[in-house]
Symmetry: C2
Subunit: 105 residues, 2 copies
DNA sequence: ACAAATCGTAAGCGATAACTTACGGTAAGT
DNA sequence: ACTTACCGTAAGTTATCGCTTACGATTTGT
């Protein structure tokens, strides 16, 4: 249902870089921003988009806020692509068979 | 390697609608455009983007051009999301274990 | 209590993207 | 040969997006 926001969120390279940094586990905003070519507020805005898309979870921890990848959000996208892949493969096989029939005649 | 273009291409709802129409098999541009809320040149431009992203294949067939989903392009994205899902799950499990340890003390 | 750190939000700006209309080019039908 | 159908491309416009700077709120440390 909401995989649309997830795929739109992952379309941006900066947001993918953020996601990549969170692959090994949760991080506060400062650590995510460290070494990034954009400002910290920009990172905050991207984190907002990723959270709204269901790709990240936020857990306030004292002074800081820990962001982590939400497996469920990623799985939504995965399922969409899986169904697309199934249909694409079936259509591909059907087309190949069709052409083989046409050539053998 | 080139899944970046693919995910950017699929971020647009109109392009996803085009992809959905091709799930059952190849179609010419006119059939893809039928009933769509945008102009036919717009569809052509979207088809161009999807082709450049490796998500579609084109086969000129007489007067028309048949577009079909390229399974390989879809698979590229699938693999990216699979690896992301693996890491996200691992990190999630690790965090849960960590927290359980902290609570049990 | 005061200062420093961490983070989100508001406002504004420049670039990009999606769309339209108009046009050209090639293949099929008469 | 001429017309019609099918499709891609060019030019221009409008809206959206990603970014920056500036500011406010909350929490930690002294």
């Amino acid at each position: 249902m909401s995989y649309e926001y997830a795929i739109a969120a992952l379309a941006d390279p900066t947001r993918r870089a953020i996601i990549d940094r969170l692959r090994s586990g949760a991080l506060p905003v400062g650590a995510i921003h460290d070494g990034m070519p954009v400002s910290r507020p920009a990172v905050s805005q991207h984190l907002r988009v990723l959270s709204d898309a269901g790709l990240l979870t936020v857990t306030p921890c004292g002074n800081r806020r820990l962001y982590a990848i939400a497996p469920e959000g990623v799985d939504n996208l995965r399922r969409y692509l899986d169904s697309l892949w199934d249909d694409a493969l079936a259509a591909f096989a059907r087309a190949a068979e069709e052409q083989a029939k046409g050539n053998s005649k």
